[in-house]
Point group: C2
Chain length 467, copies 2
């Protein structure tokens, strides 16, 4: 079939003026005005629909086409006619229309508004709605923008493993990966499950982070990044948590916390600018129907310097706000882990900008973060953005073998499991840093969509693994 | 630290001539000639090493540096001196060298050759060797080339789910994903494991393919692709199989098997050309030390049309070869699944080119492949390449609801599980096609590396999940 995509017509309408072309797509609506009719057709190549005009007199199949339902697949050959005075810049005057595949009256996406909750029950059809066509194109463009950002800076993309025998942070609840039959598991002498008989000869889990493995690659390539799925078996049913989500984790050698923040800030701005440039129709839709003011807010972020404030300064700001009467559900004091309400106060009400909070108390952060000279804080940073809260979390890594080994002992972690990680400090250690970007939170931030279930093609949350 | 990467020096040596720059990297070797010495330094930004020259007289730290071991991390400030008559185009005359991190005598990668088997036991250090620095950069460049190929053609990148409640082909052996304690599983009335009490409220597995979900997105966006990890719990310990590997799966609407093959051929050529262009040093290394003739073979492939031959024709060729005395371990007859020896004979000995074999017997292919008019073959295609065998497998999909439903019944599959898939044929079905590219096989093909364990950062195979 020698067809062109509708996006190509919108890019170069004038070049196709008065020419015959063939397009193929799905019906969005049909208006039958008796002697002539209009079909709006979308082929997924762009957000915009093509207006097809059909004339009863010159189109023998007029009645067959006029009777098609929403989402029928059509192949249309016709002439491009520029319509400078109309709403759309051109239309296609049909010479021939073939039905490639009919639709049916029980098609669930008839012309009325559906709730996002309902649309989650038809995940195989919801990409055909305006909202989800926009969300998933922005997701795709943002993903590529991230690859582009890192690749053009010479970073090496590393596919860290999904199945792992270790727990990156000794923290997250993990999914077990197994071929053992739980109805009849092999047992050892003591009656425990004998994982030496499992597929990998040991107990294995789904990864919660590729960071530690990425660090070994950073010690060879300098600058690396991962971009892949990560997992948390947390029993939390919120609008911001999913059991399966994608994460970007760059890791940079010969770099400190400032370099790390510079990288995160540049990255976020690059993604915002790329999406604004490449997805104007989608972004206008979000701006009109999902989150008014979205575009202006993103442009503001892309054009301003992010705030950088220490945890200690942030706590003082929050204490000050509380003293002035701001009500927090969780009381503020130095040493607490900042709650979402605190993060949002800082970024949304106090600074009204993306905000890096740095140098957190050592007790509330992971073992691999570099101990500051004060002995009580670590060189960590979280990037908080309005409407989302934490979008990036990172740190300078502890590159001093003795300090790292102390910390592993203090926390009663298994030194054998971290031998490879300590080796990186034995053989040519260097200051280095990295961060993790929750990709779905980025897409939520870019689109204004407020539930993580609506930016994942097939969300996995506690109790839900449909499609 | 205001440093530049060594790749930048190699790109623009003349611009830096006689200028002072700072670089940071790891020692590959040190030669101490008493009054002067040479340090070869690599920072991972490119395959090439930088030659640093140090002069005892002008460098107070000369002895400290000369005593450093392989892989020590150094920060060097010095002047770029062009050396048009030497092997390397320039060198760095050191004014100051700081030790960022020492190495040790027990560093396992001293200057001698190691077997790939040994290097697999130090997966955290092997990226520092020439072989693996080359493999993993090519892997990264090839991954980005794939994204670039599809994105520039307007394809939407879809992250299909990793955790799934269905089995895409009713075939592969799958890993179970669970939070149930196998030592003490919840049981139902009949004494079976009660998966309604598992994390997702049902039994879930790691995906073997994102194709079916990708098809629902193709029916909205026209052209889509996935690129993510997939899993097989197969107990096969070969050089070409891993339990965790990455796959690219495009899916295209309003397209038939020819369009599908055109896409696969263009994609393979794009990746080959990109890697040859962007990784000349790495490719020369492979060509010299891993697989002599590699570059010539890849160039040949990039510049020639792939062979297209039906399964029936292929069987005739194999029967003919057997009749002429070629020994096959598995006898050939119409209806058999082609074995690796058959595939390799076709692509390596008979055609000496990448070869598409099409239109396989319906009995040996998956339920979703489109039935041909002969009623006994399906519109499938495998792309076979010399040295690897099958690298791409695809098909035109069955778009006719009645034919598809018949097939699901015939194979005694659960219609409820495939209702969403059949819906795509109910509401605006259209001819469409797609394929899967095993990404690791592509990297093996590009590099000449013959074991899949050596193109995966952390290979997962039966009995092995290290690091």
């Amino acid at each position: 079939m020698d067809r062109i995509v509708i996006a190509e017509l919108f890019r170069n309408a004038e070049a196709y003026a008065d020419q015959e072309v063939t397009v193929a797509g799905w019906v969005r609506s049909i208006r039958d005005m008796k002697n002539f009719g209009f079909v709006t057709l979308n082929d997924g190549s762009c957000f915009k629909d093509l207006q097809v005009v059909m004339d009863r007199e010159s189109l023998p199949e007029y009645d067959v086409i006029a009777a098609q339902g929403v989402s029928a697949a059509l192949i249309v050959t016709g002439t491009v006619v520029l319509t400078p005075d109309a709403k759309q810049p051109f239309e296609l005057k049909a010479a021939n229309i073939q039905v490639e595949g009919e639709s049916r009256e029980d098609y669930p996406l008839q012309k009325k508004r559906h709730t996002n909750e309902f649309l989650r029950t038809i995940q195989h059809l919801r990409p055909r709605t305006n909202l989800f066509r926009a969300v998933f194109r922005v997701r795709s463009v943002a993903a590529y923008a991230l690859h582009e950002f890192f690749q053009e800076r010479g970073f090496v993309y590393v596919n860290t493993p999904i199945i792992t025998a270790s727990d990156a942070e000794g923290a997250g609840e993990m999914f077990r990966v197994t071929t053992i039959d739980p109805a009849n598991p092999p047992l050892d002498d003591k009656g425990n499950v004998d994982y030496s008989q499992d597929f990998f000869g040991k107990a294995t889990n789904l990864t919660v982070s590729g960071q530690l493995q990425a660090e070994s690659f950073a010690m060879a390539f300098g600058d690396v990044y991962t971009f892949g799925p990560t997992f948390r078996a947390e029993d939390s049913n919120t609008a911001r948590h999913a059991a399966e989500f994608w994460m970007v984790e760059p890791e940079i050698a010969f770099a400190d916390l400032d370099d790390d923040m510079n990288l995160a800030e540049d990255m976020l701005k690059h993604v915002i600018n790329t999406v604004l440039e490449k997805c104007p129709d989608e972004m206008n839709m979000f701006n009109s129907f999902v989150d008014k003011g979205l575009i202006e807010r993103l442009q503001h972020v892309a054009n301003s310097d992010f705030i950088r404030v220490t945890y200690t300064e942030a706590v003082d700001i929050l204490l000050d706000a509380a003293a002035k009467g701001h009500k927090f559900d969780y009381p503020v004091s130095w040493g607490i882990d900042l709650q979402t309400e605190h993060e949002r106060y800082l970024t949304e009400e106090h600074f009204k900008k993306p905000t890096f909070v740095t140098d957190y108390p050592v007790e509330i952060k992971a073992f691999y973060m570099r101990l500051n000279d004060d002995g009580k804080t670590v060189a960590a940073m979280d990037c908080l953005v309005p409407g989302i809260g934490e979008i990036v979390g990172g740190s300078q890594r502890e590159e001093r073998l003795d300090v790292l080994e102390n910390r592993i002992r203090e926390l009663d972690m298994d030194p054998e499991q971290y031998k490879f990680y300590c080796d990186l400090r034995r053989y040519g250690s260097c200051r280095h840093a990295g961060f993790g970007l929750g990709f779905e939170r980025m897409v939520m931030y870019l689109t204004g969509v407020s539930n993580i279930r609506d930016v994942l093609p097939h969300p996995r949350t506690v109790g839900n693994a449909e499609f």
